[in-house]
Symmetry: C2
Subunit: 358 residues, 2 copies
């Protein structure tokens, strides 16, 4: 069993060890661990050694000088100087919030970054300011557009975080694919087949082989196939790619850099690193704040009171399961799968940092 | 066979007949007919008599005084004074473009409106200004959130229109459901079953009965079921509802007014009319305009050149089929299904306006 505070200290020490400032290391550790807290195990400490391998490969700069390349009263474009996306996206949201304070909304396109953890962590920073937060990022190409046998998009997640008054906030954070890669990995570990509509093989044929992705196949856009609206999931993933990377000057589509350090960077780059798109909208730039928050409570309660289908306890509000996971894991700690624990032990040993369960 | 210019004059005359100013009638006719041109027959002249019935029921004000209720440098909230959404959304986009000109981006939440036609028509207005256009709207409740047997959302479409240099623009316009209601109507006319994942029955069970919606069933969010990511489609539809209606002060969720005039307005309204959310982002608020447009060309060409799956000619860019339809229909005209022609003839007779095929 591991506790949040224990893992936070450990993760922060690792980031300091590779040269991050204490403030940046703390920011990065909080961002990374917010995934574990929310139950998104695939994006939390399980990825820590992956970030470190990218640093070893010279692809992560632990001391980035984040530069504003361009700005207007409501927008900015950042060059993340190849730093950790965990840090750069945090900085981008602070700029978006500042601009929203001044002119109602703030929108920041980010280039030359790396993976930023979970979108929800960044979008949710806006909530404390009475703002709606938006965060999206492009990612390594694993997804085939509708009708394509080639992978041209990442799982390209987007998050909208919207405050309420007495009710907890609405937080929708999702990959624009039918299933996240993390869910496929769970099936692979169990040796189970995948549901139809999650993946295709190297020729672009539907398959239930959970290992198809490792054999040149691809994840499918939300919808799964044309008849079930995969062109909509493809459109969403494309919008995330364009706003995050074409608008910012990052590597887009098949040119997005891979997360794993053993894959080479794409030749003939079209931009720098990964890209993000971060937004903040002041609620009272549109409507009296209390009126808005009261109506959000009413919206949320109407959905909670909906008659559920047979066999299901209740209708959920986006963010409910993750908030419950956070509360439970903060209080009681949580188990980490053995292979990840082993990976963290190896990392601790190499970096000469204590690592204990507690 | 009907031609664009013929139908445009006819539609404009109808709108003038109910009391719209010539300028408003022209705007509304262009917005409505853009659906027919783009091949979205369900949202074009087929709906003209529906709008007129709403006017007869006193739910559409032909002479709206559109008011700005609230604004900041990058935002505005409008009260559409119960006018045609076709007109009010056009006005909202003009305001968004003006604000984007001044501070980089512009965002307009609209309340007290009616159906605005297709989202693409409004979003695409931004393209000529070198801007990215965004348009979304809530709609009559026909969709059940994941796990709900009740209808709490509309088909809530969103559109992103993004300019390119030599390539035609990227225009993704889609309902946040697996299938649009219009596609279901086509199956009903043929007496065919629906694919699994499109609809559920009144108890919330999956069904292939194309008439289930008329028996208390519901359309399903994009994804279809939980295993295929319907919680993501539900999240998207919810975001559209909240930005369009909770943020603007319109009727949201089950309180969104029905499009058909024979259904009563919901009791205990929580807001006024339908809501829209319209945005414009200046491309050069983020990056040199030519650089952006050249990279969009490169993005589009990479997708066009992707190796297609067997049996398919090529990978499409969002907006391709609709643009091809527009070009063909503008040049050659198009057929309208007999029931709609009859409906338009009745309307013409009642309004004492000439209506001829040509």
């Amino acid at each position: 069993m591991f506790t949040y505070s224990n893992l936070l200290v450990f993760t922060q020490q690792i980031f300091e060890k590779i040269g991050c400032s204490p403030a940046h290391a703390a920011q990065a550790a909080q961002a990374l661990l917010s995934a574990d807290l929310r139950g998104v195990d695939s994006h939390g400490v399980a990825r820590l050694s992956g970030y470190i391998r990218l640093w070893k490969a010279g692809r992560i700069n632990p001391k980035p000088e984040i530069k504003i390349l361009h700005e207007t009263p409501s927008t900015a474009t950042l060059d993340g100087d190849a730093g950790l996306g965990l840090i750069i996206a945090t900085e981008a949201m602070q700029i978006a919030i500042r601009k929203a304070d001044q002119v109602g909304t703030g929108w920041v396109a980010v280039s030359n970054s790396n993976h930023f953890g979970i979108a929800a962590h960044h979008a949710m920073q806006a909530l404390d300011h009475g703002m709606i937060g938006i965060a999206m990022t492009n990612a390594s190409p694993l997804v085939a557009p509708t009708f394509s046998s080639e992978r041209l998009l990442g799982t390209n997640p987007m998050c909208y975080a919207i405050p309420a008054l007495h009710e907890p906030p609405f937080v929708a954070d999702f990959a624009t694919t039918t299933a996240a890669n993390g869910k496929l990995e769970i099936l692979q570990r169990k040796g189970s087949e995948s549901p139809v509509g999650w993946i295709q093989d190297a020729e672009g044929e539907t398959t239930t082989d959970s290992f198809a992705l490792k054999k040149g196949g691809a994840l499918l856009p939300l919808g799964g196939d044309r008849e079930h609206g995969s062109h909509k999931g493809y459109s969403l993933g494309a919008v995330v790619d364009i706003l995050s990377a074409v608008l910012s000057g990052a590597g887009y589509s098949a040119w997005a850099p891979p997360f794993v350090s053993f894959l080479p960077l794409p030749p003939d780059p079209v931009g720098k690193g990964l890209g993000h798109f971060i937004g903040a909208m002041r609620v009272d730039a549109f409507r009296d704040k209390t009126e808005f928050l009261e109506n959000m409570d009413k919206w949320i309660r109407r959905f909670r009171q909906a008659k559920p289908v047979a066999g299901v306890e209740k209708v959920l509000i986006p963010g409910d399961p993750e908030r419950e996971s956070s509360a439970e894991r903060l209080e009681k700690g949580w188990e980490i799968v053995p292979s990840v624990v082993e990976d963290l032990r190896d990392l601790a040993k190499e970096m000469e940092i204590d690592f204990e369960e507690k």
